[in-house]
Amino acid sequence: MKKVVVIDDEPFILMMIEDKLRNARIDVVTLRSSVNAVEVIRKEKPGLVILDWMMPEISGIEVCRALKQDSETADIPIFMLTAKGQDADEQLGLRSGVARYITKPFSPRALLEMVQEVIGSDEQ
């Protein structure tokens, strides 16, 4: 079963996503801080990373870029969660290699579908 790493400084968001994905039998690793996100992701080698944009210390975009630059993690698809809602931001996000750009508030159900799209198919 594939893993998903979720990084958000807001605990209830983590909780929400975790519950939802777990229910769908997806393994979730949650991180409240983005500080050593890259290392963790490298270690965990998830099938998907869900990032929050607005985080203290290191913003989601920075993490995204770091992941993409690292060959080990470059191929991992990334979803960006953010409250920012402007087109420019979306462009920035997509340019950084973000696969999907999800604005808050979001529907957990919809999120699950998107996640399953990415990792659900291969049941290795």
């Binding site: 807001e10 605990p11 209830f12 968001i13 909780m15 929400m16 519950d19 939802k20 229910n23 607005m54 985080m55 203290p56 210390e57 913003s59 409250a83 920012k84 809602g85 604005t103 808050k104 508030p105 979001f106 529907s107 957990p108 159900r109």
Partner: protein, 1080 residues
């Protein structure tokens, strides 16, 4: 080799040839025989005979053979030898043949050195000699043929034997025709006779002399020729005659031409009326024309030229006179001169002589031709003309004097001198007739002593010569007064004066004076002289009159000029008074005074007309009631109104007499009799009327009216101008007020960018005082801060755009003089003049900070709303969805629900904050005072912190005095504290501690909220309480940035104080103090 030797040799050779072999044969045969004999053979005589026959036949055979050979050889040799000879002989024969034929150029080759060779040589020599001879003969023939002169040869019988080509050419006959005919055929009878005579004369031999005769040519024409001839002798015998002709036709022609030319010249010479003489080197006349011959009493030809011309026995030049002939002989050039002689009657005679040389071919003068013309008459005419001319010249110079000078004394003295000069008198004087016309005084004189003048200088008109002249007005002259009987009773009669004349100086109507001239010699006054004198007298008189007239005119002109000057000075002073005055009223009065006094009026006033045509008093020379009131309405017929209608100064001599005019009380009340009313117009518009009133009558001269019109114009302009000025001032006042009242900064600049004015708002916005700004270039005013460079750029751009006629506007940030930065809107509008050109720019600088602020706030609010709200909403929406979908169990659900709650509360707080801002901004925020127990308040609040506290795993410690209370707005207090605690929690790590300390002091309540969080960076400190300021951490931390602002506002609303202490890494402490107050 000589031939003879050749033959001898040949002979010998052949002989040898024949003999030798023969001999040899014989010998051989004999030998054989002998040998045979010796051999014992018997030899009988018959043998001898046989042997002899044998030998002989052998010899004979051999001889025949030899003979054959020899024959052949001889033949060959003969041919060989004779060849040479034959050739030579052939040559000789050919040569002779050629010679016979006439070809003498033949030269035979000499091939042998023998006799034949000699013959050939001789032959060649012969032909050469022949050739020479023939050539000589031929030459002679050539000469003869080449001769231009015809030549003939006749035999004894006078038959032509030979002629040269020239002859055939001359006579036109061909040679064949001529040969054989008689020579006399070519002469006519007369000439033939002459020719026949010639041979007789030739008896003495030699050549005959040359005769002139004529020859007949083939076509019948006669050719004049010269003929000469000689007899041809052969020894003593006459064998013929030879004649030579010379074609004489040309010469004959020339001769006849010369003859006719000579006759022609002689005819001309004779027809000329002047004397023509041809003089040779000895001064003898060798030729003279008819005129000369006729003139002379004696012989002419051969006579000496000086005898003929001058009746002088000796040559002229020997007596020192000039002689034209001699001059020509010496110079070889033409010479012209005029001689004077005394004629027969003792009169002067003038002769013009033109002498020309006749030269020989080498250029020496052989003879001189003199053409002598009597020019006496001409000279006399010339003298006459000369005299007349000098008279004219004199007259001309007199008139020159008269026209050049404007001073009488100059004229008189000069003319007097001239007259004396002209007539060659000794002196003279000028008498002037005085005003009475009865006496004359001599005022100018020359050549007279003073004493004499004293005595002589005063005479009565009619007395003495000058007096008479003055009386009768005619010239009186006398060649010699001492002897003149017509002049008696004159002082000068015995004074030694002889030649005398007096000339009247005639003015326009009367005699002004008399010129008198005298000489100590007799002087015959010619008619011309008298004419001249009369003319001079008249001219002088005219000149004097003109001078008088001129003086008069000049006086008049000067008077007028003075008048004009005065006028101008007055106008100038009036117009300068008017021009410099702003308040017209002040100036009009003195101006009217000036006009009144200049024109001697008793009263003067000025009325202005309004648009309805009423006339109101503007100024008057005397005080009148109701100054400024309308004096005449437009309905009334007034003198002033009348003149305004006529548009010209109007004079009324009797104002009362004319009942059609209504007089204002102020006028009617006085006893004015006459008036001049002068309307003042600008173009078509009547500005008003000014009038001068007189107690008596007053007539105005044209120049006075002219002056008054000018004044009227000036006044009109001034009045109009002052109207405009007053209006302009009013308008300016109005616009000034507006400008100053406007809230935006207004800077007006001229076309070059210099500030003309700034308004109060400008001062307020920029902090630059108006008096400092005016005059500066617009951008320089803002130089007080370097940070204004961008602003200045924007301002400049707007200004430039306006200069081009386009409104320009930009947004910019301006630093004020106090250091503040404000957002401004720059708007520059061009000011156009009447022609559409830009004369200046009005720049508007509007402080849009507030607007900008509001904009920012709007943006921020929107951002806040969009961002800050979404996170709590995510929880609410997401979790609710999950609960509803049953994704989670009940425990979880509970957790979810509490999260939903706290997030909801968070949202609500944020909304409160925003609403607070709105209220604060609008100034509508009110404070509801209530007594609040702090403890209770805080415990209420801790609930709302719960989720955040949990998230952060933080701890909130309360240190609140039991009874602490505050009289404040409860909601706001909650808000205040919520914000502070929120901040502390947000800007700290997990596990942080927030302490809330509350102390009740006498002055008020002290609240302290401290945390051990990240602290606030120094750069954020000053901006903490700015709206939406989120600081360095703002990008990563959620929040509206309104918190501290609201806190500050709330504290301020309560009259309290707030200050914040913080150090990065050492936490933050917020101190609040709220004053106590009475609860409502």
């Amino acid at each position: 080799m000589r031939i003879i030797y050749k033959h001898i040799f040949g002979f010998l050779f052949f002989a040898f040839l024949v003999v030798a072999p023969l001999t040899l044969t014989v010998v051989r045969h004999v030998g054989t025989f002998i040998a045979a004999e010796e051999a014992g053979r018997s030899v009988d005589t018959s043998d001898y005979a046989r042997a002899y026959r044998q030998i002989a036949s052998k010899i004979g055979e051999e001889a025949a053979l030899y003979g054959f050979y020899v024959f052949v050889l001889a033949l060959i040799m003969a041919i060989f030898f004779s060849k040479g000879t034959l050739i030579s002989l052939k040559g000789l024969r050919k040569g002779s043949q050629s010679v016979k034929d006439g070809d003498l150029d033949f030269v035979l080759p000499v091939t042998s050195h023998d006799e034949l060779g000699d013959v050939t040589k001789a032959f060649n020599e012969m032909t050469a000699a022949l050739r020479e001879k023939t050539l000589e003969l031929k030459k002679k023939d050539l000469y003869v043929d080449a001769m231009l002169d015809p030549l003939w040869v006749v035999d004894g019988g006078n038959k032509i034997v030979d002629v040269n080509p020239a002859f055939t050419r001359l006579v036109g006959h061909a040679r064949d025709e001529v040969i054989g005919s008689s020579i006399y055929d070519f002469f006519d009878d007369y000439n033939e006779a002459v020719m026949r005579r010639l041979p007789d004369k030739e008896k003495d031999g030699g050549t005959s002399p040359v005769y002139e005769t004529t020859v007949r040519s083939k076509d019948g024409s006669r050719i004049p020729v010269l003929v000469s001839g000689s007899t041809l002798y052969s020894g003593e015998k006459i064998v013929g005659h030879m004649g030579i002709l010379k074609d004489f036709s040309e010469q004959e022609d020339l001769r006849s031409k010369l003859q006719s030319a000579k006759e022609y010249v002689e005819t001309i010479m004779d027809s000329i009326e002047d004397y023509i003489l041809v003089i040779d080197k000895e001064y003898r006349i060798i030729k003279a024309n008819k005129t000369a011959l006729m003139k002379a009493s004696g012989p002419v030809i051969g006579e000496f030229c000086h005898v003929f011309s001058h009746d002088q026995a000796k040559p002229c030049w020997s007596q020192g006179h000039e002689c034209p002939a001699q001059t020509v002989f010496m110079t070889g050039k033409n010479y012209r001169t005029t001689h004077q002689h005394i004629g027969a009657a003792g009169e002067k005679r003038f002769h013009e002589i033109v002498a020309s040389p006749i030269k020989d071919p080498s250029g020496n003068v052989l003879h001189v031709i003199e053409l002598i013309r009597d020019v006496t008459e001409r000279m006399m005419h010339e003298e006459e003309i000369f005299n007349k001319n000098s008279e004219l010249v004199a007259l001309n110079s007199v008139s020159g004097i008269l026209s050049r000078s404007l001073r009488p004394d100059e004229i008189f003295t000069k003319v007097l001198d001239k007259l004396i000069d002209m007539l060659k008198m000794e002196g003279g004087g000028i008498f002037f007739i005085d005003e009475s016309g009865k006496e004359m005084v001599c005022q100018y004189h020359r050549g007279i002593s003073e004493e004499y003048v004293k005595v002589m200088g005063r005479i009565k008109v009619g007395e003495d010569v000058p007096g008479k002249v003055a009386a009768i007005g005619q010239v009186i002259t006398s060649p010699d007064v001492s002897k003149d009987h017509s002049i008696d009773k004159s002082f000068i009669k015995h004074s030694g004066i002889k030649g005398y004349c007096c000339i009247p100086i005639r003015g326009k109507e009367r005699i002004i004076g008399v010129f008198s001239l005298f000489s100590f010699r007799t002087h015959h006054f010619t008619a011309e002289e008298e004419n001249i004198l009369t003319s001079v007298g008249e001219m002088t008189g005219m000149a004097i009159e003109n001078i008088k007239l001129y003086e008069k005119m000049r006086g008049l002109y000067e008077y007028q000029a003075k008048q004009r000057e005065m006028e101008q000075a007055q106008i100038l002073s009036i117009s300068s008074k008017l021009g410099s005055a702003i308040e017209l009223k002040d100036v009009l009065k003195p101006v009217l005074e000036v006009i009144k006094s200049t024109f001697g009026a008793d009263f003067a006033w000025l009325l202005v007309s309004d648009h309805e045509g009423n006339l109101a008093e503007k100024s008057a020379s005397a005080l009148i009631k109701h100054e400024g009131d309308i004096v005449y309405t437009n309905a009334v017929s007034s003198i002033e109104g009348y003149s305004a209608g006529r548009k010209t100064p109007t004079v009324i001599q009797d104002i009362r007499g004319d009942s059609k005019f209504y007089l204002a009380p102020v006028i009617a009340g006085q006893s004015y009799q006459s008036v001049i009313a002068v309307p003042m117009y600008i173009g078509e518009k009547n500005v008003g009327v000014y009038s001068l009133y007189y107690l008596g009558g007053r007539v105005f001269k044209e120049e006075e009216l002219h002056f008054l019109r000018i004044i009227a114009n000036i006044l009109a302009v001034s009045i109009e101008r002052s109207d405009y000025y007053a209006k302009a001032i009013a308008e300016k006042g109005l616009s000034d007020t507006i400008l100053q009242g406007v809230a935006d900064g207004i800077i007006t600049v001229d076309g070059s960018g210099r500030i003309i004015s700034v308004n109060k708002a400008f001062e307020k916005i920029t902090g630059v005082p108006a008096n400092e700004a005016v005059g500066l270039p617009i951008c320089d005013v803002f130089r007080f801060s370097e940070e204004n460079s961008d602003f200045r750029l924007s301002l400049g751009e707007c200004f430039e755009s306006a200069l081009e006629g386009e409104r320009g506007n930009r947004e910019a940030v301006m630093s004020t003089i106090s250091g503040g930065k404000i957002s401004v809107l720059i708007d520059s509008a061009p000011v156009f003049d009447a022609d559409g050109g830009v004369t200046g720019v009005v720049n508007l600088v509007r402080d849009v900070s507030r607007e900008k602020e509001i904009d920012r706030m709007k943006t921020e609010i929107i951002r806040s709303v969009s961002h800050e709200f979404r996170t709590p909403l995510s929880a609410i929406v997401g979790m609710t969805e999950m609960i509803l979908e049953g994704d989670i169990d009940d425990n979880r659900a509970k957790k979810y629900l509490s999260t939903i709650l706290s997030e909801g509360i968070r949202l609500s707080n944020m909304v409160s904050d925003l609403l607070s801002i709105a209220r604060i901004e609008s100034g509508k925020e009110t404070v509801k005072y209530k007594k609040i127990v702090v403890r209770d308040l805080l415990s209420e609040l801790s609930e709302s912190f719960s989720s955040l506290v949990e998230k952060k795993r933080a701890e909130i410690r309360f240190d609140v005095e039991e009874a602490a209370y505050v009289v404040a707005d409860e909601e706001k207090m909650k808000q205040l504290l919520t914000n502070l605690v929120d901040n502390s929690l947000m800007f700290s790590d997990d596990g942080c501690i927030v302490e809330i300390t509350v102390r009740d002091k006498r002055e008020g309540l002290e609240i302290n909220v401290s945390d051990n969080g990240w602290g606030i960076p120094d750069e954020d400190m000053p901006h903490l309480t700015e709206r939406f300021y989120r600081g360095r951490h703002g990008q990563k931390i959620k929040g509206t940035g309104l918190g501290l602002y609201i806190c500050r506002e709330i504290v301020a609303m309560h009259g309290g104080d707030m200050h914040i202490e913080s150090r990065p890494g050492a936490g933050t402490r917020v101190f609040l103090s709220l004053p106590h107050r009475e609860a409502p």
